[in-house]
């Protein structure tokens, strides 16, 4: 059963890693980010599987940390895009 779980972890990581081709191709910057977000979620799933299949302690906490940090890059990016375009800037003006 543990072997099976590790196999599933590997499959999920490699599947989402294929999605990283979107980093290569883009064409939008947003799509490059989306590929990383998919890798992040796949990585969390793989960590959960590894946590269950092996006796390394604390792997679930690593997954928890990754889950917390998942939206990080995207928020930073959206903020900068808005700053670039000066959009929503007027919203701040009283």
């Amino acid at each position: 059963m543990n072997e099976l779980l590790l196999l599933a972890a590997g499959l999920i990581v490699f599947t989402v890693a294929i999605g990283l081709a979107r980093i290569l191709h883009g064409p939008n910057e947003v799509e490059r980010l989306m590929a990383v977000q998919l890798l992040g979620t796949g990585g969390i799933a793989a960590l959960l599987l590894i946590a269950n299949a092996t006796n390394v302690p604390g792997v679930d906490d690593v997954a928890l940390g990754l889950a917390l940090l998942a939206p990080f890059a995207t928020i930073a990016f959206v903020n900068l895009v808005d700053a670039d375009e000066g959009a929503a800037e007027r919203d701040l003006a009283p």
Partner: protein, 314 residues
């Protein structure tokens, strides 16, 4: 060796090649974030959950925000470098040099002594030493066995913060760094930050607390707390504090200061610099770690927020 290990190794190298080879600056930075994620998985496979947690939080998460923001800002400048691209001969020469260094390192790895030398017994003494009883040997090493090192590392963080602050314009000194978002945030962003930050702060403290006996500790917990503060700043729930704020500076130096004072007290109490009196070692270590947690949680966002910006620049 399983299919998971081989595949992960290949993926890490491929993504690293992409980070180096990409034409686009932003694509390269995003590639680095993916690289950090994959590396965290590799660390788990190397039986290093503490390192994996640090890599995930600092190496991928916080560094990712830093790099993505920097590449976006530099990309907005749209300035072509005046330099001529390196010639083919120079490229080849560099390639050969890189190959030589990598093969020398690989050869050294293949020829590592057997049986491998290990300091683990000494770490075991530090972890189970008189009255310590820490279940996590890495925390014991960081706070007890290599305590001076860890203390100086906090000083390095402070120096880096000072360095970043002093990069700003003279007239901006003492002011606040530019907000992480220039305009009014979207409701969805505010909602996300309001939900995530409290939960994340709890998880950060949890990671710190279990660090005495399980993977985790002040570094990892502090990095998660720092990340949550950054989420709040990115959604404009909070703005970066003024760099002359008293509480900020106190929080920054508290970690190494408490560490150093405790270490000096060890001379009197336990007969040696950075020695902890038997029976009290565990509470003292947790006490030091609590202040280090605070320093890290404050230093990392300060590093990402950057130098103070004059009001006039906005």
């Amino acid at each position: 060796m399983s299919f998971l290990d081989i595949g992960l190794a290949l993926l890490v190298v491929l993504v690293a090649v992409w980070t180096i080879a990409a034409q686009d600056l932003f694509a390269s930075a995003v590639g680095y974030v993916a690289y950090g994620l994959l590396l965290a998985l590799v660390w788990i496979r190397l039986y290093a959950p503490d390192v994996a947690l640090t890599e995930a939080a600092v190496g991928s998460g916080v560094t990712g925000v830093l790099l993505i923001a920097a590449s976006k800002r530099l990309g907005a400048l749209k300035i072509a470098a005046l330099e001529a691209p390196p010639s083919l001969a120079f490229k080849l020469l560099t390639g050969v040099l890189a190959l030589l260094v990598a093969s020398a390192l690989a050869a050294a790895i293949l020829m590592l002594p057997d049986p491998p030398p290990s300091l683990a017994p000494e770490a075991a003494v530090a972890a189970e030493g008189p009255g310590a009883g820490l279940g996590n040997p890495i925390t014991a090493v960081l706070i007890s066995y290599r305590s001076f090192d860890t203390m100086l590392e906090k000083v390095v963080l402070i120096l880096a913060v000072l360095g970043v602050w002093s990069v700003g314009a003279d007239q901006a000194w003492g002011g606040a760094p530019a907000p992480l978002r220039r305009s009014k945030p979207y409701p969805a962003m505010v909602f996300l930050a309001q939900m995530l930050a409290p939960v994340g702060a709890l998880i950060g403290i949890h990671v710190f607390w279990v660090g005495a006996d399980a993977p985790g500790g002040a570094f990892q917990g502090g990095a998660l707390l720092a990340a949550m503060w950054m989420v709040a700043m990115m959604a404009r729930l909070r703005d970066p504090p003024r760099i002359d704020a008293q509480w900020l500076r106190l929080a920054l130096v508290a970690g190494p200061a408490v560490f150093l004072v405790t270490g000096l007290a060890g001379v009197v109490m336990a007969g040696n610099f950075f020695a902890y009196p038997p029976g009290l070692a565990k509470p003292i270590i947790l006490f030091i770690e609590a202040f280090m947690l605070m320093s890290i949680a404050v230093a990392l966002p300060a590093l990402v927020a950057g130098p103070p910006s004059g009001r006039s620049e906005q």
